[in-house]
């Protein structure tokens, strides 16, 4: 219908180029307004009282003293929720404010609005809540299998059990020359974005509310917020405010309903900003996991079967646990051909903090377990870790454990070959202690330091899976502004730092052959864009912008064809000009358009997926798969248990590089979060209580912890995706963790079944 996109004649700043971020200048000048920067005349500050107990009944709440505090304008409890009292991403089971029971430490119980944040903070401490403390259920294995455990929800403690069955594992055992087993654990990781949960709710004249918040998915927020407020969706208008990172933690609601309730109640704008401690209580975390794996292989390393039992601790409420279980099950054996498979993945409720989305989403946990197993297998067979992976690697035409055909390029063997070819770093220069584990703490001059090398391979599904109708919406408007053709792109997609705004502009430039593109603020005045998660926005919102641009182009070409008497197929837009393949430049676009405005709105859906069978796990549940492989080099001071990651190299297939600078940033950032999970990041719990809700005690990698990273990026196009791209935000988070763990094992000879690896694990005393 329209001329094919000509990527070779790139418009400057188009697809494949690396233009600067449109918000970059404002960000470096300190002018970019994050959700915590918002300010309104007359605004009040909201604060939240949270449960100190992981599990308790509530018998009474006394707000009298708090309400009488000078400067306090409102104190609200569950009685004041105007509409439905529960919300949830998949299943509305989370109380807006606790009703008669709290199920995790930090659960919101009451709200205060006051003139100064300190007044609000003090007032919440004057609210008297009468708790009847209950025994917390904190052991996920007990939650999964012990019928006598306290029931945390009506339907029991199992959110989802997803089996995967292929072939006959029992029979296959007889064919295995070697069997390796392990029980692996992953601690609870926090997304630890830097910009705290925050936003502004402004009551409107029509009885509705305008919300300015940092979120990953405005429309799913809206679908939860409006019923809780007892308002129709069109009276809750959301605008995305500056987002200081997300990584999954903003997929669930935090302060949205609370701020809106206070605003509607007081008639004043309400600002809520969590501090870091509250932020640890205010969002879901990565599911900790206990994973028992068994693999059998022939003497030459070919896998004959795999068996896995994975228990994911979902904490107190459902959030996205069911889908995390889906990934842990369907991706449970990774990108390897395994003829016989028996996987059981469970997600359970406990009185631990709720867990939900975090970069890698269920695939991270599985990857750590199956990669640890691949190393065990290599050791048992005396094979190189890369060889055992290579002989089992999937490729185009393979089947996943779910029976789904891999119908696009999956060049894992080639990626492993390339990884092997990246030269290893030089031995450590011990003369500069900054290069050594312990650094300037001066703990060693090289004595006791051993080097290790390890590998990791990860397989991630891109976009939403399991039959979800996943789509995004874009509006593109083309007109002449100041004598130049200009496009406006409008979506509800959340820019969370990943660079989606840059990409949307690049796509519009390429598709319309113009330079001037403006990205409208993201809001709910346009249709759903889906979540900025699952590595899906380049694909989905990128696809929507591309499709809307194509529609604009088609409309333009229709008019041009009529006017110039040329076939539409002959026309293209390059450099702000309308061009015919036969007749050359026809006219400057600005002249052709004149006062006319062409505007199109389009939805983009990816090819449909299916649900998996509830008993066999079979089904075409994923629309796209992406691979990343890592090599880690570490130095470990085996006497002190200190370590330094020396280098991380990655090979990732991205289908098509749309913006190399942003892409590399995603791979680097994902790798860094994988490093955090490998060696330092863990929310520590005791009896359901958080012991380290601060950046003093929950450590994330600093610039000293991160090594140089080498990247080798491949472009094997996925013909189903816009430009052939593959989502790239998550895969590196999967593979870096097991690569680092393997390198530490290589250096120390320890089995290290658990991440994060702690100093104590490296200096076993027993």
């Amino acid at each position: 219908m329209t001329a094919p996109t000509n990527l070779e004649s790139t418009t400057s700043g188009g697809v494949g180029d690396s233009p600067q971020r449109p918000d970059g200048t404002r960000k470096v000048k300190g002018e970019f307004a994050y959700s915590s920067d918002l300010w309104h005349d007359d605004m009040l500050w909201g604060a939240t009282l949270r449960s100190p107990h992981p599990h308790a009944g509530i018998t009474a709440i006394d707000i009298g003293e708090a309400l009488a505090t000078p400067g306090v304008h409102a104190v609200l409890t569950h009685d004041d929720v105007p509409g439905v009292r529960y919300y949830g991403l998949d299943h509305p089971d989370q109380p807006v404010l606790a009703i008669d029971r709290v199920r995790y430490q930090g659960e919101p119980v009451a709200l205060v609005a006051a003139e100064h944040p300190e007044v609000a903070r003090r007032a919440i401490n004057k609210i008297g809540v009468h708790y009847q403390v209950l025994e917390p259920l904190t052991d996920p294995r007990r939650a999964a299998f012990d019928a006598s455990a306290p029931r945390l929800h009506e339907h029991g403690n199992v959110v989802r059990h997803q089996p995967v069955r292929v072939g006959d594992v029992q029979k296959a055992r007889a064919e295995a020359d070697v069997v390796v087993q392990g029980e692996y654990q992953i601690g609870m990781q926090d997304q630890a974005f830097l910009g705290p949960e925050s936003g502004l709710a402004v009551p409107a004249e029509d009885g509705g509310v305008d919300l300015y918040v940092a979120t990953q998915w405005m429309h799913v927020d809206l679908r939860q917020i409006a019923p809780c407020l007892g308002l129709p969706e069109d009276k809750v208008r959301m605008t995305l405010s500056g987002v200081g990172g997300a990584f999954g933690a903003r997929e669930d609601l935090s302060m949205q309903v609370h701020a809106a309730m206070l605003a509607l109640h007081t008639g004043r704008p309400i600002k809520i900003v969590y501090n870091r401690e509250e932020s640890f209580y205010g969002h879901v975390h990565r599911h900790p996991a206990i994973m028992r794996y068994e693999h059998g292989a022939t003497r030459d390393g070919k896998l004959v079967y795999a068996k896995a039992e994975t228990i994911l601790d979902g904490g107190a409420y459902t959030s996205s646990t069911a889908n995390v279980v889906g990934n842990a099950a369907s991706l449970g054996v990774g990108p390897y051909e395994v003829p016989n498979v028996e996987i059981d993945a469970y997600g359970v409720y406990t009185n631990n903090p709720p867990c939900g989305a975090m970069r890698g989403f269920g695939a991270v946990q599985a990857c750590y377990a199956y990669e640890s197993q691949m190393d065990k297998l290599a050791a048992a067979l005396d094979m190189h870790p890369l060889d055992v992976r290579r002989v089992n690697a999937v490729s185009e035409g393979s089947k996943l454990a779910t029976g789904q055909l891999v119908d696009t390029p999956a060049p894992l063997a080639e990626m492993l070959r390339r990884l092997k070819n990246i030269p290893l770093p030089d031995p450590t220069d011990n003369s500069d202690i900054r290069n050594l584990p312990g650094g300037v703490s001066n703990t060693t001059h090289g004595e006791g330091v051993r080097r290790g090398v390890g590998y990791g391979v990860g397989l991630k599904n891109i976009c939403f899976s399991e039959g979800f109708d996943d789509y995004s919406t874009a509006r593109v408007r083309l007109e002449v502004i100041g004598g130049e053709p200009a496009a406006l792109v409008h979506t509800a997609a959340a820019e969370v730092g990943q660079g989606l705004v840059t990409l949307q502009a690049q796509i519009a430039r390429t598709e319309l052959g113009i330079e001037r593109v403006t990205i409208a603020p993201a809001d709910t005045q346009i249709g759903d864009a889906g979540s900025s998660s699952a590595s899906r926005q380049s694909y989905m919102t990128g696809g929507a912008v591309k499709t809307a641009c194509e529609a604009v182009r088609a409309s333009l070409f229709g008019r041009a064809a009529a006017r110039f008497g040329l076939p539409e197929e002959d026309l293209s837009l390059i450099g702000g000009k309308l061009i015919s393949a036969r007749a050359g430049v026809l006219v400057a676009l600005a002249d052709f358009l004149g006062d006319e405005v062409i505007e199109e709105v389009r939805e983009y859906h990816h090819r449909p997926t299916t649900q998996v069978d509830p008993t066999t796990g079979q089904g075409d549940s994923h629309t796209q798969l992406a691979l990343c492989v890592h090599r880690a080099v570490v130095d470990v001071d085996v006497e002190l248990g200190l370590l330094k990651v020396v280098e991380l190299s990655a090979v990732q297939d991205v289908g098509k590089i749309l913006n190399r600078t942003s892409l590399e940033g995603q791979i680097h950032g994902g790798t860094a979060q994988g490093l955090g999970l490998a060696v330092m990041e863990e929310i520590q719990l005791s009896e359901g209580k958080l012991r380290n809700p601060s950046f003093t005690d929950y450590l994330i990698p600093t610039i000293l912890d991160m090594p140089p990273m080498r990247l080798d990026i491949l472009e094997n196009a996925d013909p189903h995706a816009p430009y052939g791209l593959r989502g790239a935000g998550e895969p590196s988070t999967l593979s870096s963790t097991p690569a680092i763990a393997a390198a530490i094992r290589d250096a120390t000879g320890l089995s290290l079944p658990r991440v994060p690896v702690r100093p104590d694990d490296l200096t076993p005393t027993s």
Partner: protein, 163 residues
């Protein structure tokens, strides 16, 4: 309480300050300068870094009263003019060192201080100087690129200017 201080070269006054407020709070909420960020308010992340009398400091750890009579420069004051950027700011945008950007204001002050004092830093020196600034998005590679770029440009400019 009333506070007088100089911010980005301008004398500023703030009234009715509660003594527990930090310099960060005063800048952000009372003086309309939200550039310095509030990622931890515990001295751990560096997102609130400002110059206090020419020395980078975590403004979340400075009580408002301690800033009385002192000279503060925030990210909003780094650029030489309305339409110009300092080389460090330019380099951060160009190198892709900015993703969500929440760490950026603090990192810019730290990086600005570094390149003002050392136009030829080694990677180890850059890492040491920026070790107090957390970034959750970038894995720091592009931040290193940006600082190297800013340092070399500053070096060239100083050479051209013959200083």
């Amino acid at each position: 309480m009333r506070l007088n201080l100089t911010v980005n070269g301008e004398p500023q006054q703030a009234d009715d300050i509660w003594p527990g407020e930090s310099l960060l709070y005063v800048l952000r909420e009372r003086l309309g300068l939200p550039g310095a960020k509030n990622a931890c308010e515990q001295g751990e992340c560096g997102s609130c870094t400002v110059y206090l009398d020419g020395v980078p400091a975590c403004s979340c750890l400075v009580a408002a009263g301690q800033a009385e009579g002192h000279d503060v420069v925030t990210v909003e004051g780094l650029a030489p003019g309305e339409d110009d950027l300092h080389p460090v700011q330019e380099a951060f945008v160009e190198a892709g060192a900015v993703q969500c950007g929440f760490c950026t204001p603090g990192l810019l002050v730290a990086a600005h201080n570094l390149v003002e004092h050392n136009q030829n830093p080694s990677d180890a020196e850059i890492r040491e100087e920026l070790a107090g600034n957390l970034c959750r998005c970038t894995g720091y590679e592009k931040i290193l690129d940006a600082v190297r770029l800013a340092a070399s440009r500053t070096r060239n400019r100083k050479q051209e200017a013959g200083t």
